[in-house]
């Protein structure tokens, strides 16, 4: 059984922010008097992650995902609680710990803007103390995997976003980290590039057994990479378990797609469920998840159904509903 690599206990992070009244008068007033308030960005979360897991962190903007990652990386000191990553306390920032993890922030870069990416790679080789042979081998492998051989000697500022992200990943992985914190690594990339990066992360996890925490607003990232997800809302953990169980836990409805051999009225469908689409020869119904099988059987008995398909609600819709309901009840 895998050992826990990351252990988080009762972690909290509160920020003090000030509110300013709009306009010039508000600006002048704020020179003397400011209203401060405390924001609980992370509010008492706990979890453990074992070696080799790829865990998705899902949450709305401002939920506390990136703040959590930053505490796990040792960038921020928590207000309270404890964290252990690879046996280290992250905010002691021991170099032995820092050599074993990597943080990729999709919206920030570590590549030097004015120089070709290879210069940053060489710098990282020195910083992480990577032996020359290992460095060349890893670099060649990563460059070929991500197909950026022609890009690494061009000024970073002249590269496309996709090329830059690939080079960012290379810079983050040159030292073969055991733990990867990926904060929206595919943000702003086209669908082809997103798939390339996902395949690469999956391959890296398979080959090196790296533990990965991934935050992303793209559900495809989560669906393809993560078996387990942790859902965060307003700093609190609201779900921690298998991705597949989110559907059984939160999905209330299923979708029935019907094709009829003869024309069917809309009225005749309403007794079975909510009609989402209808054009006489086909229809889509939203039905209760628990009753879906029974309703499907009744439809087959009562109506001239030529084809019937039962589908789960899309993951995005389920998660949207979860957070939407949380917002309404707040």
């Amino acid at each position: 059984m895998s050992q826990p690599v990351i252990t988080v206990s009762n972690l909290k992070k509160h920020f003090t922010v000030y509110k300013k009244q709009p306009g010039l008068l508000g600006s002048i007033r704020s020179l003397w008097h400011r209203e401060y308030e405390t924001v609980a960005a992370v509010d008492d979360i706990s979890f453990t992650i074992n070696q080799g897991e790829i865990v998705g962190f899902i949450g709305q903007n401002g939920a506390g995902k990136t703040t959590t990652l930053k505490m796990l990386s040792g960038l921020l000191y928590p207000t309270s609680g404890s964290v252990s990553v690879l046996g280290y306390n992250p905010w002691n920032r021991k170099s032995a710990f820092q050599k074993q993890f990597s943080l990729v922030l999709g919206q920030k870069n570590q590549l030097w803007w004015d120089l070709p990416a290879i210069e940053t790679f060489l710098l990282n080789q020195a910083i992480y103390d990577i032996p020359e042979a290992q460095f060349r081998k890893t670099l060649n492998k990563l460059v070929n995997l991500l197909d950026v051989k022609d890009s690494i000697q061009i000024q970073v500022r002249k590269l496309s976003l996709g090329q830059r992200m690939k080079c960012e990943l290379i810079a983050a992985l040159l030292h073969n980290p055991k733990v990867l914190f990926l904060d929206e690594p595919t943000i702003g990339l086209d669908v082809v590039m997103q798939k390339t990066l996902r395949d690469f992360i999956s391959e890296y996890n398979r080959e090196f057994g790296a533990t990965v925490i991934l935050t992303s607003h793209y559900m495809d990232d989560v669906k393809e990479l993560c078996k387990r997800v942790i859902m965060i809302d307003h700093g609190k953990k609201i779900y921690d378990g298998l991705l597949s169980n989110i559907i059984s836990k939160y999905a209330r409805n299923k979708t029935l797609s019907l094709v009829f051999s003869e024309s069917v009225t809309k009225k005749s469908l309403t007794e079975f469920g909510t009609v989402k689409n209808w054009n006489g020869s086909s229809a889509t119904l939203l039905v209760s998840r628990k009753e879906a099988t029974k309703i499907a059987a009744r439809l087959l008995e009562s109506l001239p159904v030529q084809d019937l398909n039962i589908e789960e609600a899309p993951l995005e819709a389920i998660i949207r509903e979860v957070f939407g309901n949380k917002a309404k009840s707040a």
Binding site: T66, S73, R93, S95, A96, Q155, E184
Partner: protein
């Protein structure tokens, strides 16, 4: 390396730095036309002092100015985040990430002014004096670095602190005059509490063989103490770092 990617910018700022240095020497030559001495320093001694200051200034401008600008910007924009994850001293990364070699010509001008002044005064410093001179210059550079770094560290509290990088260079006016210029409270401030006036004076006095031991010792001691303080201050300040929102 990064600056030399932009050749036009490099050459332009090299020209500007040469002109600035030239104007500085010209300014003091005007003063020396009116008065034979400045706080007891003859014209040749003043040019030697200016040469030492120019060396020091070229050095601090090359290795510190851009880094201190970037330091405050890193804190403000949240890009300090990426530096903090590296398994290497963050202070080292902040201090050495950028150089501006367009001051190399000022360095050469400073050396020339020192050599010419010594030649005109028919002074041949001993090897020990030259060695002590370089160590004193290093101590002076480290002192400037420490106070600049501490001032930039205030950005953890003050958030936007661009102007700090103009205040510190503004102290250059104090650095390029003999310490004897200051009297009373100003003397206490710039010689004892914040010994900025020693950074060019003491090394120059060493070459001129008129250095006082207590000021030499105080330059080295205050450099060491200020470096310690800068480091402690940084590690105290870093706990306040909150990055920025995504």
């Amino acid at each position: 390396m990064r600056m030399m990617e932009y050749r036009g910018d490099f050459l332009f700022w090299a020209l500007v730095s040469i002109l600035w240095t030239g104007f500085n020497f010209f300014f003091f030559s005007l003063i020396l036309r009116v008065s034979d001495t400045v706080a007891g320093w003859t014209a040749d001694e003043m040019y030697l002092l200016l040469g030492t200051f120019t060396l020091l200034d070229a050095f601090t401008w090359t290795f510190f100015y851009q880094n201190m600008q970037r330091y405050t910007r890193h804190v403000f924009t949240g890009s300090l985040t990426m530096l903090l994850t590296k398994p290497i001293s963050t202070i080292f990364l902040l201090t050495t990430s950028s150089n501006s070699f367009n001051n190399i010509f000022r360095f050469l001008i400073g050396c020339a002014a020192i050599v010419i002044s010594l030649h005109r005064m028919e002074i041949t410093p001993s090897i020990s004096s030259v060695v002590l001179y370089f160590f004193a210059l290093m101590a002076a550079a480290l002192f400037i670095y420490a106070i600049w770094f501490m001032a930039s560290t205030l950005s953890f509290w003050i958030e936007k602190l661009d102007n700090i990088n103009e205040i510190i260079p503004g102290l250059r006016r104090v650095m390029q005059v003999p310490r004897g210029v200051f009297a009373g409270a100003a003397s206490v401030l710039f010689t004892v509490l914040l010994p900025i006036s020693l950074v060019a004076s003491v090394p120059s006095e060493i070459l001129l063989q008129k250095a006082e031991t207590k000021w030499v010792v105080w330059l080295f001691v205050s450099s060491f103490l200020s470096l310690l303080l800068a480091r402690k201050f940084f590690y105290f300040a870093i706990k306040r770092y909150s990055s920025v929102g995504n």
